[in-house]
């Protein structure tokens, strides 16, 4: 023998509503929201998930659903409930997340949010209350308003030519692979009300079982917005909505979702292990006192075509400085220009903390093509050093106050079997001239480029080739 009382999931009085009348809802007489609240409340009770439920109520008449639901409540921005729900569910996978949305909210301003949450198959439940109108804001056109319907923004009625046809959300979402359940119901008679409740129960059950995204669309009467009395509003649904929005289940294919992470479980030791992986303990000192052709601080520009590995060359130089216990910065040119056009980067290596990381006046230029040499040579500090790839640049620097070192980097690389390692040849040349880093630091640097044995060997040979070429090139000049 069944009794019918207010479900526990709904409060008995509504202090959050406040005002003179905290016992009754703010909904108009006959409003479908109240009925849906009661059905949802019963389902939450019957499934025993009251404590786990988090209800998201975005803008619309039901923005105040938190007055009524005895659940964790989050009020959200217009249309954004599916995104907020996603955040809650991902953060707390054991919660039961219900996004309670109206038609303007879900189908207009939040159209993409619902589509994407559905497509991702978020393990959540969406209650979509379709009353074909903006109720709270004053009876304006909704995406679901039937053709011909007069609203405050379509005083002559909705016309297809102006606004297209009403949007059928349950049908729209059903084909998405992420959607487990999509169905439409109405509150027009006892049978349909019970079907609505069953659909809500199934949707939440799917969520409890990790079976993915459900949308339950409910055609809900809005007597005030439609300007009819509550009983007539039921006929209004039958007459104006059922043809456009046929009731039924458009999809019921629950899909088991993989077990999600539980990010609220925090393990600092694991974080330390992952983040500090590969770094040794502090205390690395300078290896030796090097003799350098240019004094610190070094302001280096490396430049060439995109694809020559210019940024990597600069980064390796910076790391070499770091290995030497010096202060370094590395600054790339970034964005579209690095894919195809020219590439350059600034590297500063200093024995005091680096202030300005932008090298406007380099004292060391690594030029791997002619345009780079032409661009940066005029910026060089007097007395600076230019190392250039003489296999690609036939005429070296013209300024007499610069030291030019020609390294046939691409040719050396090509003879090793791949022109790609020309940047490492240049790196070798630099290392020879700068006299750092120490021998023992060189291989770790090359390993940070690639640990692939074949690649590593090619890089070792390229580095060696560059160092030998630099020795040969620099010797006669001294």
């Amino acid at each position: 023998m069944k009794e019918f009382h207010r479900p526990e999931a709904l409060y008995s009085t509504f202090p959050r509503k406040g005002g003179a009348d905290p016992e009754a809802t703010h909904y108009c007489p006959g409003c479908g929201h109240g009925i849906i609240h009661k059905l949802l409340g019963e389902v939450i009770d019957e499934l025993g998930v009251g404590e786990r439920t988090v209800l998201i109520s975005p803008v619309g008449c039901s923005v105040f659903a938190y007055y009524y639901f005895n659940a964790g409540n989050i009020q959200a921005a217009h249309g954004r409930a599916p995104a907020v729900a996603t955040g809650v569910k991902r953060a707390r996978p054991d919660s039961i997340v219900i996004s309670y949305q109206g038609d303007g909210d879900l189908a207009a301003i939040g159209g993409n949010n619902i589509l994407q949450a559905a497509n991702r198959g978020e393990n959540m439940t969406v209650v979509f209350v379709n009353n074909a109108i903006y109720g709270m804001t004053g009876g304006q056109l909704a995406p679901t308003s039937p053709l011909g319907m007069k609203t405050t923004t379509t005083p002559e009625g909705r016309e297809f030519e102006e606004y297209g046809s009403p949007m059928r959300v349950a049908e729209l979402l059903a084909p998405l692979d992420g959607v487990s359940l999509s169905s439409r119901h109405a509150l027009i008679n006892a049978g349909e009300i019970i079907k609505t409740k069953k659909a809500l129960k199934k949707a939440i059950k799917y969520q409890m079982e990790g079976k993915g995204f459900s949308l339950v669309e409910i055609l809900s009467q809005c007597p005030t917005g439609w300007k009819v009395d509550p009983v007539e509003s039921l006929h209004w649904v039958e007459e104006h909505m059922l043809k456009v929005f046929p009731l039924g289940t458009y999809k019921d294919e629950p899909r088991q979702r993989p077990t999600p992470p539980h990010p609220a479980d925090y393990e600092p030791a694991l974080i330390d292990r992952v983040i500090h992986a590969g770094t040794s303990a502090n205390g690395r000192g300078k290896a030796h006192e090097p003799v350098r052709p240019v004094t610190l601080p070094l302001g280096i520009r490396a430049a060439g075509f995109g694809g020559q590995g210019i940024l990597l060359l600069g980064e390796m130089l910076a790391k070499a400085g770091l290995a030497e216990g010096l202060s370094v910065t590395w600054l790339p040119s970034y964005g579209p220009e690095m894919r195809g056009g020219t590439a350059n980067c600034s590297v500063v290596i200093s024995d005091t903390p680096v202030g300005n990381p932008i090298v406007d006046q380099p004292n060391l230029l690594l030029a791997l093509n002619r345009p780079s040499l032409e661009r940066f040579e005029p910026m060089m500090q007097p007395g600076g050093v230019v190392i250039y790839d003489s296999s690609l640049i036939d005429v070296g620097p013209t300024r007499s106050d610069l030291t030019a070192i020609a390294i046939p980097a691409t040719k050396i690389a090509d003879e090793l079997g791949t022109a790609k390692v020309a940047n490492v040849v240049m790196l070798g040349a630099c290392m020879e001239l700068l006299a750092f880093p120490s021998q023992s630091e060189r291989d770790p640097l090359l390993q940070s480029i690639s640990r692939d044995e074949k690649m590593l060997e090619a890089n070792r040979l390229a580095l060696k080739g560059g160092m030998e070429a630099a020795r040969a090139a620099a010797a006669p000049a001294r």
Binding site: R90, P268, P357
Partner: protein, 391 residues
Amino acid sequence: MSQVDSPTHRGPFRKVFHPYHPMSQPTSSRSEPRSRSHAPQFMKGNEAVVHGALLAGCRCFFGYPITPASEIAHTAAELFPEVGGVFLQAESEIAAIQMVYGASSAGVRCMTASSSPGISLKQEGISYAAGSELPMVIVDITRGGPGLGNIAPEQSDYFQMVKGGGHGNYRLPVLAPASAQEMCDFTVDAFTLADRYRTPVVVLADGLIGQMKEPVSLPDAVREIPDKPWSVRGDGATRENLICSIFLDPPVLEDHVRHLHDKEMEIEAKETRWELEGHPDPELVLVSYGVVSRIVRGALDEALAKGMRVAALRPQTLWPFPTAALAHATRDAKAVLCVELSTGQMVEDVRLGVGGAIPVHFLGRCGGVLPTVTEIGEEMESVLAQAEVLS
């Protein structure tokens, strides 16, 4: 936060803005000391943000790709899942910030990151988060604007981040790192501040600071994350909780805004940060933040070497702005020179700090063009020459 608390109706907001007494010593806050037991790693500022976030106990990252902030998402996509956290690429910036809204409501440390046009889209969610008092960290790697602009560094998001880009009465703490190390450290600090004051916190950098690689000494992971009894976790203990930014009754909303404002006053009093370098008794005070402060540092070194009496003030928090520190630093100065990658945004706060006592000069570049050390040096000479003429 319940709406049933009886409003206190404390009447109108009244304030008097007294001139800053230039001799009163300003107070500043500092990063909390952290144990660092590992050798520095060489990484981009953008990567340092993610490392800092994880070490601060950030557990969820929601973002959307945009240059020059994308490495933040790339690094987060790699590292968050490895430590049991969540990385999700949202359908839009609008959605990403709302996912952060949800995760923060659910009581976990969480963040998003973007660049200027994406931040414009996030402003909706940021206003809601401010209204709902949700702790979160928002990183802006500023690029050129307006509109699509370009992907080069600018500082033209000062207004939208420091002055409140969304609707309503709120202010967010804005930390302005100037190195890869600070990208890490300020991100950690941002999470501390966010939880301490239950507020979104902004880390405002630019494309250059984001892209630049420097050695970063990473701290150890925070051992404990503060409990959040106000959150909605989907359990019995938090069932009665409500996260919301709607307060229909005018006196109730006014009280809520007053509560936010009280927190702002406390933040202003306790969390202002800056750095002052150079001559102890300067004739000229340079003011700059972020990447520009690095270039200014070069100009400062050259000027000091020439024997010029110059100092450089670098706000590390843009809100709260170190107004008192500026007044103190300029007490005997003849002029101020503010350098920005904008047409003049922070300079408005500089003018408020100086209060019309001495001329405030501005030097700006835009579109990704950076001022050079030489350019700043020449401007300093020119400003001081003008000051001589006037005195």
